[in-house]
């Protein structure tokens, strides 16, 4: 049996009130007023498609044995690097073995579902190791555009394997057609859209129903057997597809438009993770990926789904929420306005990649050390043990700290150092297993941090090197999930 064995999701904590965006832009584009409902997820200044994918993957993997993962695939149209494989950074952050396959899949909003289908193929061919499929999307839209209102930032991760399957692959159908409702050229930051009515009537509502009908015929599935129809499109269009194909309206899965927006290539997988969270055994799920054609994937949940450990998932990620009503902050975090950042912001953030490579387990994997002589856990892992009563040389074995809970020993909110979201919070973070680090805090509001606050590690952008287009990643302390 080939199918999904685990799932996870991540939605950034910040939710932009659409009303706030319309209040800012309605004077210019009055048609936005009809979109002033609900909220959309937005990346914090230190989040991107990769960091969100890491968090979704951690949610998916939890305490599972990571040694069985033989391949990592990362799907996104907003990957932080064009030439530096992003999936391998994901693998490093997850502390996976070096002897694995890794792959980025990109260039179309259906690359998330295509990555999932590729994973099924790999597992079928190899019959053994797991494939981790992650997809994150940090979407970019111009100020005052309808896309700005509709988009959302999020990530999902699925573990695909042959044993302990919770959702089995029943069948799939793919269509490749160069229908260009929007595009983004190599040098562009933003999507360029053609007329919405044409895109819907000539594209979506022709290509998708045809693909579904092919799939249902191919697998001998009746449309009314579908319990969950996952269509990452506007609800009205999804309703039309139901009518055209015979899928019951009741099967329509929540497209999350009201609470987080549409997260591009990640969106079908985010919706799927949301569906799996509450699905019972024996339920048929149809997942659509759409963009220059269509991926239609038919899954059926197994008895195991009722017993499988639940991740934080979409419901948990959505519950971890902080409303953002300051539209300007959204603009600043997404580099959509020119701000006076002050001379302090000009500090050169060049990364010596030779040093990064040498220390990549420490930086990307948050690997510390544990002294074999005295048992002291410490960060960083150095040649000499930090325990003042030990101090032995060459005794430290690698000790991963990214999943160890911790608390704040001391802290401050710093208004002097440059931060995209002042004041910058940081403090001495003490790990429960031993070890400590003066580290940056993230996802905190002024007035909410205090000594002894419980924190967890999150993979984030530490610095942007705007001059060279590089960004460096490290771990930060965020409030623990309650």
């Amino acid at each position: 049996m080939t199918g999904i064995t685990a799932f996870g999701a991540y939605v950034p904590k910040l939710r932009l009130s659409r009303k706030a965006a319309v209040e800012a832009n309605g004077w210019f584009n009055p048609s936005l007023k009809g979109l002033a409902k609900g909220e959309r997820s937005i990346c914090y200044w230190d989040e991107d498609a990769l960091t969100m994918a890491v968090e979704a993957a951690r949610d998916c993997l939890a305490d599972r044995d990571r040694a069985t993962i033989g391949r990592v695939t990362l799907a996104s149209t907003t990957l932080p690097f064009k030439d530096r494989q992003n999936a391998v950074i994901l693998a490093e952050a997850l502390n996976l073995d070096d002897n694995i396959a890794s792959l980025d899949i990109a260039s179309s909003l259906r690359c998330g579902t295509s990555a999932l289908l590729t994973a099924f193929d790999t597992v079928k061919a190899n019959d053994g190791g797991h494939v981790l499929v992650a997809s994150g999307e940090h979407r970019s839209a111009k100020a005052a555009s309808p896309q700005e209102m509709q988009y959302g930032d999020a990530a999902a991760a699925l573990l695909v394997g042959a044993q302990d399957v919770i959702a089995e692959l029943v069948g799939h159908h793919q269509v490749a057609v160069d229908f260009v409702d929007h595009y983004r050229g190599e040098t562009e930051r933003f999507d360029y859209y053609w007329e919405e009515r044409w895109a819907r009537d000539e594209g979506l509502l022709k290509i998708v129903p045809a693909a579904i009908q092919e799939l249902l015929a191919k697998t001998g599935t009746a449309a009314d057997q579908i319990a969950h129809f996952i269509a990452p499109v506007a609800a009205a269009s999804a309703g039309k597809i139901c009518k055209m194909t015979g899928i019951p309206d009741s099967a329509l899965a929540d497209n999350l438009a009201a609470v987080m927006g549409e997260s591009g290539a990640a969106h079908p997988l985010v919706m799927l993770a949301n569906c799996l969270h509450n699905a019972g055994p024996g339920e048929t799920i149809l997942v659509i990926g759409y963009g220059q054609g269509c991926d239609a994937v038919l899954l059926r949940t197994t008895d195991l789904i009722a017993r499988a450990a639940k991740p934080t998932g979409v419901p948990g990620a959505l519950a971890r929420r902080r409303e953002e009503t300051n539209y300007n902050r959204y603009l600043a975090f997404n580099d959509l306005i020119i701000q006076e950042k002050g001379i302090r912001s000009e500090l050169d953030k060049q990364t010596a990649v030779s040093a990064l490579y040498r220390n990549r387990d420490m930086v990307l994997g948050l690997i510390g050390g544990r002294c074999e002589a005295c048992g002291t856990v410490q960060f960083p892992r150095t040649k000499a043990c930090v325990n003042p009563n030990c101090g032995k040389f060459h005794t430290q074995e690698p000790y991963p700290l990214s999943d160890v809970s911790a608390h704040v020993q001391s802290w401050t909110a710093d208004n002097l150092t440059y931060s995209p979201d002042p004041p910058h919070h940081f403090g001495m973070i003490v790990f429960d297993d031993g070890g400590r680090l003066m580290m940056d805090l993230t996802d905190v509001e002024a007035g909410t941090v205090d000594v002894n606050m419980s924190v967890r590690m999150m993979f984030r952008v530490k610095d942007y090197d705007e001059r060279r287009g590089f960004r460096r990643y490290f771990w930060k302390a965020a409030p623990a999930l309650t």
């Binding site: 001379i343 990364t351 220390n359 930090v386 710093d414 931060s419 001495m428 580290m439 530490k462």
Partner: protein
């Protein structure tokens, strides 16, 4: 234990420029200002100096590397010049180098000069620089006040001190230093303030407001040292000698081991213990007449009073409010205004502190002269509370 430095080296002369925002002066000009006073005080010629130590911390901001800038500024006659940098203890390190050279007999007369020209960055506060390619990848994005503010949250927690009480005590630290600085013509900031001024100031790094932070200044200070015998042969009568020079450097325990609670400075305690032993001081609160400590931030001075064993642990905040460290208190502290008001040109600060203690011991301190001081203590703290360099020095009338 080693013999120690007590009474082996005497101060022949000292000098200090005015500290402040010297928009019209280069570092070399400040060095000359301090040196001319120092040389006159010492009563010697430049040609009599055997070796020199030169301290500066942000050399890339002004003079560049090496001992050459000092040699060039003073046209030193091709003698050894060693440049030292040890964060905010740099000035004391230059002094230590010169003192050890004399004590060893390798030099009869040695010069220590420290300088910092900070006001060319284009912004307030200290220059923000890379901390090294590996450190930059992991350590927190922290300003200096942000790093020292950590002490406040840990101190409050450990000693159960109410945030408002601690803030008020920290405010008194600054009020006292402003009162002292107002009397000092060479101080950078010369305005008296009130507790409310401090409490109502803009927040820099919680809970440190603007008046909890010392000034960032340009300035230079220097000392010429020799043996007591040579000093006497040169006609010096009231000799001030070095009683103790100690330095303690973090080895990573505070930053990496959970035995440190973040509320005090491990290094200051180690350096103080050794300095008192070296100087033969048994009851510091009774024997130390006055002190200049590293009050880079009000909270730093507050915990330093405990780390120097002058206040009981958890009690410094009360002692401060009780006026123990005021000019008319039991142990006057920052009588020249301290880093807070005299200013903090990093490489010069350690020497500036010694300059004040020296002036007080010789009765030359004018309006701010204390009555009959016997021993003066100086303290520097460089880096961050969790990873730093601390020095403790003691000088007094020469007993030999």
């Amino acid at each position: 234990m080693a013999q120690g430095i007590k009474d082996k080296v005497a101060i022949l002369g000292m000098g200090c420029s005015k500290f402040g925002e010297h928009w019209d002066k280069n570092a070399e000009d400040l060095i000359v200002d301090a040196y001319e006073e120092c040389l006159t005080d010492a009563g010697i010629e430049t040609s009599q100096i055997d070796a020199a130590w030169f301290s500066t911390a942000f050399e890339e901001q002004h003079v560049g590397k090496s001992g050459i800038p000092l040699a060039m500024a003073l046209r030193l006659p091709y003698i050894p010049v060693t440049r030292v940098e040890n964060y905010c203890a740099s000035g004391t390190e230059a002094f230590r180098g010169a003192v050890y050279a004399v004590a060893s007999g390798a030099a009869d007369i040695a010069l220590a000069t420290g300088v910092e020209k900070l006001k060319d960055t284009g912004y307030g506060g200290l220059p923000q620089r890379s901390r090294g390619v590996v450190n930059d990848m992991v350590i927190a994005n922290a300003s200096a006040p942000g790093s020292f503010a950590q002490l406040a949250s840990a101190y409050r927690t450990k000693h159960g001190v109410d945030a408002q009480d601690l803030k008020r005590s920290m405010a008194q630290v600054s009020v006292k230093s402003h009162a002292n600085g107002a009397k000092n013509p060479r101080a950078h900031l010369r305005r008296e303030i009130t507790i409310d001024t401090v409490l109502n100031a803009p927040m820099v790094a919680e809970p440190l407001g603007l008046y909890d932070c010392c000034g960032v200044s340009d300035g230079a200070a220097c000392a010429i040292v020799t043996t007591p015998e040579i000093a006497r042969s040169l006609g010096k009568k009231d000799l001030i000698s070095v009683k103790a020079l100690q330095l303690s450097v973090s080895n990573g325990v505070e930053a990496g081991h959970n035995s440190w609670d973040g509320s005090y400075l491990m290094t200051t305690r180690k350096a103080a213990e050794k300095a008192y032993r070296e100087a033969g001081v048994e009851k510091p609160r009774d024997e130390i007449s006055m002190l200049e400590v590293h009050d880079c931030f009000s909270i730093t001075e507050l915990v330093t009073m405990e780390d120097l064993y002058l206040s009981q642990e958890g009690e410094a905040w009360r002692d401060i409010l009780d006026g123990v460290y005021d000019a008319d208190g039991a142990v006057p502290c920052q009588i020249d205004g301290g880093l807070k008001c005299f200013g903090h040109p990093i490489g010069a600060s350690g020497l500036r502190m010694l300059y004040e203690m020296y002036a007080q011991l010789l009765g030359r301190a004018g309006d701010r002269q204390l009555e009959d001081p016997r021993l003066g203590l100086t303290h520097n703290l460089g880096g961050f509370p969790h990873q730093n360099v601390a020095s403790v020095s003691i000088i007094g009338a020469c007993d030999t």
